[in-house]
């Protein structure tokens, strides 16, 4: 018993949410967020980027929408943070429009979601296969969605295992 309490105190002190514990109250990340292009990495081809997040206990739904004119792509991450492997079907890898890299393998991202920093950071750890001209390659993508203390700004930092530079996207909350 003492050990378990000590373990809980330690994980809380490290800012980690104990495994299996979801957000009991609405997450400060919940809501609709719109990209501020002037403070973000280039989108390459797309002109707008929107993220919506909705949490409910251990479950969360994160939707990413990229758009250009009347063309758009929506990617919906329906996640359970208790599961180490959430399978998210992906029709095509819309983030990349200009490189010869395409969704391969089983056509899905395998995603683990974790809350960090007292629930102010949502980390998605994704693994998927891309097809190159030479065949299939595995990629890992770490996506950290960090909300500001004021709750008005969301910063997404993405680190791809195949890339030497991260992507940084800054979003402003869309007030309804």
């Amino acid at each position: 018993m003492k050990t378990r309490i000590l373990l809980l105190l330690c994980t809380l002190a490290c800012g980690l949410t104990p495994l299996g514990a979801g957000q009991s109250s609405p997450s400060p990340l919940d809501g609709r967020w719109q990209l501020d292009p002037s403070r973000s990495s280039a989108l390459s081809f797309w002109t707008t980027f929107e993220v919506t997040i909705a949490t409910a206990g251990d479950k969360l739904v994160l939707t990413r929408t990229l758009a250009y004119g009347n063309r758009s792509n929506r990617e919906v991450f329906d996640l359970d943070i208790t599961k180490p492997d959430n399978v998210v079907p992906v029709e095509w890898w819309a983030d990349n429009r200009y490189m010869g890299l395409y969704m391969g393998g089983d056509g899905a991202k395998h995603v683990r979601a974790t809350w960090l920093d007292d629930g102010r950071t949502l980390r998605l750890d994704s693994n998927f296969i891309v097809t190159t001209q030479q065949g299939e390659k595995a990629i890992n993508l770490l996506s950290d969605y960090k909300v500001s203390l004021s709750g008005d700004e969301l910063t997404l930092i993405e680190l791809r295992s195949s890339r030497t530079r991260p992507f940084v996207y800054v979003f402003k909350r869309v007030k309804s």
Binding site: F45, Y98, G107, T132, Q134, K137, N140, R163
Partner: protein, 560 residues
């Protein structure tokens, strides 16, 4: 018997009509004229601005240049076709031409010099934009200068009476009825070798640079839509295209307001026709008549023989290709010549604009290599071309490539409805067609953005672009992208083919290459293809038939 005679007579009459209305290919003069008139045009291309005077001058140009290159229009410095200005200098230096310059937009002086080539004028309705497009048709068929109500006095001063008055004729009518009227009254006398889609800029703006040539050739003009959402326009457009001669030319560009490039080009391909843009391509009535100088022959920078076999080393080989097109792009901008670079040639300029092609071929650096495109003799999407029309088009293309000394063909497949998620892949059937039609090339390149089609047959690779360098992509971002591609394609050799969007300078491309994390060898495209024929590290792939998108969850790739 009576019915049979009637049919015979009708058939004979139709044949005669067709023969009378069919236009021959542009005739070239024996040598460039010693002098020609040049009129500078203003930067205002609004219908409520200087379009009226511009179209008056364009129609006059088309008529005056019908049998001899007399009048050249000097487009503004910011015109999309940058070639306009260097070409004048080329004509002066290489052909010894002198240009007699009139004042900006000087219609009065122009009519004084060339009004005699017109039989009168056609008046378009300022309140109905499409009446101007109809006026282009009428100008060519009836030899009339195009004016509006504000220019009637000017026309009258030069003895040009109103022959056709379109004012009030089309008030409140939709375009499909307006063009139907034009079709009913003029189409029978229009060329079956040229049709002009007078699109591009819409609404308050118009840039009808191609109009002079269309008028000189007596082409039918319209901006009818290829969009299925406009069924009446589409039906009439199909009727027009079906009536054109096989493998003939569609000049101009789709309307930015009505349909998409893919929709329109797909439709022209369905009829086995050649698209040749853009709507604002200038002075073709002039340039098409200027011959090559007697001492010139089209000569490419070949680095390797067609039957050569090269040995690829374990490296990253990079080839850069600029398309879309030389006349618009960065030929005169910094960096050209610093690195091997391929340029897609507008093959129809061999008859539309020979002096421009001679200019490019003569000013090429040792590092410039020319290739043929796009997909055929003009701009077309192979998937859209019926199989029975493909051979005739490709026969034209082989002939043009031989004339222009080109040994690589670029393919672009944007057929409406064929691309999946924007990726321009070829079906195997189309790949088979190209391999059959072009036995004597180094190989083929494919795409506009990156694509996934690769093959190798009889030492002729078919390689898709692995990267598209967009205009607004920073050097740092491009370096990161290419580094990522090089990292993921870790087998050596790796063949990295880059499509450079036209307004990126060669200087910028060189900066990107110089900053890559891994050393690459930049090679000319013909050598690139020969090396790729030696070591096939790319996997054969064509567009597969569409299947339902159902994720079959497999093993997590992150699990080791």
């Amino acid at each position: 018997m009576k019915t049979f005679r009637c049919l015979l007579l009708t058939s004979a009459l139709l044949s005669i009509t067709c023969a009378l209305s069919a236009q021959p290919a542009p005739r070239q003069v024996e040598r460039a004229p010693a002098s020609a008139t040049v009129i500078p045009l203003s930067e205002n291309w609004r219908l409520d601005g200087d379009v009226p005077v511009h179209v008056l001058l364009l129609s006059l140009q088309g008529l005056a240049n019908r049998d001899h290159p007399r009048l050249y229009l000097e487009y503004p410095k910011n015109w999309q076709w940058e070639i306009v200005h260097p070409l004048m200098g080329f004509l002066e230096q290489r052909h010894g031409m002198k240009f007699d310059r009139l004042a900006l937009n000087d219609a009065d002086a122009a009519l004084k010099l060339f009004g005699r080539y017109a039989k009168g004028c056609v008046v378009w309705d300022k309140a109905v934009r499409s009446s101007l497009t109809v006026a282009f048709t009428i100008a060519g068929v009836e030899d009339l200068v195009i004016v509006n109500a504000d220019q009637l006095d000017l026309a009258a001063r030069h003895g040009l009476k109103v022959v056709v008055d379109l004012r009030g004729r089309f008030t409140g009518q939709p375009d499909h009825l307006i063009y139907q009227w034009a079709y009913d009254n003029y189409h029978a006398r229009c060329s079956r070798d040229y049709y002009v889609v007078m699109g591009g800029h819409s609404g308050a703006e118009m840039q009808p640079g191609i109009a002079d040539f269309g008028i000189s050739r007596r082409a039918f003009f319209s901006d009818l839509s290829a969009n299925p959402k406009h069924p009446e326009e589409l039906a009439l457009l199909k009727r027009i295209l079906a009536g054109q001669n096989p493998a003939s030319i569609v000049l101009g560009w789709h309307s930015y307001a009505k349909d998409t490039e893919a929709q329109h080009t797909t439709l022209t391909g369905n009829y086995g026709l050649k698209m040749e843009g853009l709507h604002n391509l200038p002075n073709v009535s002039f340039t098409s008549q200027i011959p090559l100088t007697p001492d010139f022959k089209y000569t490419n920078n070949h680095h390797v023989a067609l039957d050569a076999q090269l040995k690829a080393e374990p490296k990253v080989y990079l080839a850069a290709v600029a398309t879309d097109s030389m006349g618009i792009g960065t030929w005169t901008k910094p960096g050209r010549g610093d690195i091997p670079y391929a340029w897609q040639v507008l093959v129809n300029w061999s008859w539309m604009n020979p002096p421009a092609l001679q200019y490019f071929y003569e000013s090429k650096s040792p590092n410039d290599y020319f290739i043929g495109g796009l997909s055929g003799p003009g701009y077309m999407y192979p998937q859209s071309v019926p199989a029975d029309k493909f051979p005739a088009l490709m026969k034209d293309m082989r002939s043009l490539m031989a004339k222009l000394d080109l040994n690589v063909l670029e393919i672009m497949e944007h057929t409406e409805g064929h691309r999946r998620n924007g990726i321009a892949n070829l079906s195997k059937e189309v790949g088979d067609r190209y391999y059959a039609e072009f036995p004597h090339v180094h190989g083929f390149i494919n795409g506009y953005s990156a694509a996934q089609t690769f093959d190798l047959r009889d030492n002729r690779p078919l390689l898709s672009y692995d990267y598209y360098l967009a205009v607004n992509c920073t050097v740092a971002d491009a370096v990161a992208d290419l580094d990522e591609l090089i990292r993921l394609n870790d087998q050596r050799p790796y063949f990295l083919l880059i499509h450079v969007r036209e307004s990126n300078t060669v200087e910028k491309v060189k900066q990107i290459i110089d900053r890559l994390s891994e050393k690459v060898e930049v090679v000319p495209l013909d050598i690139f293809l020969k090396l790729a024929a030696d070591q096939k590290t790319y996997q054969t792939r064509y567009q597969e038939p569409a299947k339902p998108q159902v994720a079959k969850p497999g093993k997590n790739p992150g699990d080791v």
